[in-house]
């Protein structure tokens, strides 16, 4: 089956909800909801993510596209859907910063890609470690805007390791985009260059495991 990824991506970038909705309904008519998500929504969001990374799409478009797709997917793939069950326990957090847009966008794109995850809002390291342990989280998505917060991922890593918590950390945000060596320096397991990267990285880890 051919899914109209480019046309769907263009409709999202143009904020043309009617067109995007029509294309999504067409995809649903061709297969199951999870197929529509994986073969239309996810590739379109990846396409938009890459375009943001190379500077040809703006953050406002990424945000609106993610929000719209989150609502679309919510409609056809509710949280209780069995297709959502085989995922690692995941959570997302804005570490230390009082800037929440990045986390909001990634959360929307993860859900639009069929993932369920805890939204921890904004937290500092001690509280975050306790929550990760209590929730038995295996994948932690960390969003930051400020450099000092990015550097605190190092403390987070150390605290999680000391607690014996086997968590993979994906980081993202401006300091990591501007310094491509920084994510390794602070002990993260991966860095998302754009919002849709988180879903790609977690998906790859799931495939490794299976």
């Amino acid at each position: 089956m051919n899914y109209p990824v480019e046309a769907f991506s263009a409709a999202l970038q143009d904020l043309d909800r009617v067109r995007a909705d029509t294309l999504f309904l067409g995809a649903l008519a061709q297969g199951t909801p999870i197929q529509a998500v994986e073969q239309l929504v996810v590739p379109a969001l990846q396409h938009i993510g890459h375009a943001w990374d190379d500077g040809s799409v703006a953050l406002s478009q990424v945000y609106m596209a993610g929000r719209f797709c989150e609502a679309l997917v919510e409609r056809v793939l509710p949280p209780s859907d069995p297709d959502r069950k085989h995922q690692p326990r995941s959570a997302i957090v804005a570490l230390n910063d009082h800037h929440l847009l990045g986390k909001r966008i990634v959360y929307a794109q993860m859900r639009a890609s069929g993932f369920e995850l805890f939204d921890y809002g904004r937290m500092e390291v001690p509280e975050l470690v306790a929550r990760v342990q209590a929730d038995r989280v295996r994948v932690l998505l960390v969003s930051v805007l400020m450099l000092p917060s990015a550097l605190q991922v190092r403390d987070l890593r150390a605290a999680l390791d000391a607690a014996g918590q086997p968590v993979r950390i994906v980081v993202g945000g401006a300091p990591f985009s501007l310094d491509e060596k920084l994510w390794r320096e602070v002990g993260a397991d991966a860095m998302g260059r754009h919002a849709a990267d988180a879903a790609r990285i977690v998906q790859a880890w799931m495939e490794e495991r299976s």
Binding site: L15, G55, V57, M64, H98, L101, R104, M146, L147, P148
Partner: protein, 346 residues
């Protein structure tokens, strides 16, 4: 040439004695004085002393009277949240519902103690340096302020879904920003740095910018009683650089993520460029890397003037060491003397 002459020459698209350097350090002043960031910004005298020490130590071509962005949030009734290792954050949004915009009135500069400390700082710096070193004042643009006023996601929703309410918010903000900019110019600031990251192509597409941030900037800059430079605070601007020049801004602060030589090709003779050293990687540069980065930037954009070497964000992180800052200054004095080395070789 003194620093002011050097800067004015390059802004008129001529070559001064060397490339001017704006080391935009704020928090390093607290470190110079051995004070916490919160204590440092609690008194104008601290910032005056900090800026004067930084000027003497690093030889920047400006004094930077910027405290932090959250100060403007405080003026609108918001909270400032200090941290020990970086600039303060703005606390919770003051506009929790879009309907509040309908009755929003701008704060008066005279009523805001935090803003008054900035004005006292500028007056004291002006008394110290007169017309030898430019004193840079800062405003957040009316188009970028709502990120703090509302939260970024709520602001993007407003931008796309409630254009009339957006227009009212921008007009209210504009009244404040113009008063705030002109108060700084009256107090002693030489020029205003108009921070407008939301207008950058990283945040909104050009079509949206032209309907919003561009019009606001044109109106604001025309009402400033002194020159303005627009800063994208790490955001990209290549698609809108010519539009930015048309706002009347004298210079544009550009991103490390963009090709400086390509930007210069568009900007030459129209608008000066400010940038674009990467303030994040700067944290772990060696002195040799600092030399190489400075040389790269000067070679890309220095010829013909119209260029001020600076970081790409408008504020160098506290984590950047004094050794690196000194190395940047050394490199400018080595590679930035006109005629530039590459030009002389041609």
């Amino acid at each position: 040439m003194n620093s002011l002459q050097r800067v004015l020459t390059t802004l008129s698209h001529r070559e001064p004695d060397r490339v001017p350097m704006f080391l935009l350090t704020t928090l390093h002043g607290a470190a110079e004085l051995g004070l916490s960031i919160e204590t440092y910004f609690s008194r104008a005298e601290h910032v005056v002393e900090g800026q004067m020490r930084l000027l003497a130590r690093y030889g920047s071509d400006c004094l930077y009277s910027f405290f932090h962005a959250a100060l403007e949030h405080e003026a609108w009734g918001g909270e400032v949240i200090f941290r020990p290792d970086g600039p303060p954050n703005a606390g919770a949004p003051v506009l929790r519902r879009a309907e509040q915009i309908d009755r929003l009135e701008p704060p008066r500069v005279a009523d805001c103690q935090g803003l008054q400390r900035v004005l006292q700082t500028q007056a004291a710096l002006k008394a110290r340096v007169g017309d030898t070193v430019p004193i840079i004042g800062v405003v957040m643009s009316p188009f970028s302020l709502p990120v703090m006023q509302m939260g970024f996601d709520a602001y993007l929703d407003l931008m796309h879904e409630e254009p009339e309410r957006l227009e009212r918010l921008l007009h209210v903000n504009e009244a404040f920003v113009v008063e705030w900019a002109n108060a700084q110019l009256a107090a002693g600031a030489t020029a205003i740095c108009y921070f407008d990251p939301v207008s950058s192509s990283t945040v909104v597409p050009r079509e949206l910018y032209l309907r919003t941030g561009h019009r606001v900037a044109q109106r604001c800059i025309a009402r400033f009683k002194g020159p303005a430079a627009t800063h994208m605070a790490s955001g990209r601007c290549a698609p809108i650089l010519a539009d930015l020049a048309a706002t009347g801004t004298a210079a544009v602060g550009v991103s490390a993520l963009e090709d400086l030589a390509a930007l210069k090709a568009v900007a030459r003779g129209r608008v000066s460029l400010l940038g674009n050293l990467n303030g994040i990687t700067m944290r772990r540069w060696t002195p040799d890397e600092a030399q190489a980065e400075v040389r790269r930037a000067i070679q890309a954009a220095g010829a013909g003037g119209g260029f001020i070497l600076s970081d790409n964000h408008g504020e160098i992180p506290l984590q950047v060491s004094p050794d690196v800052l000194l190395a940047i200054g050394d490199a400018v004095r080595r590679w930035g003397v006109y005629p530039l080395p590459a030009q002389a070789a041609e």
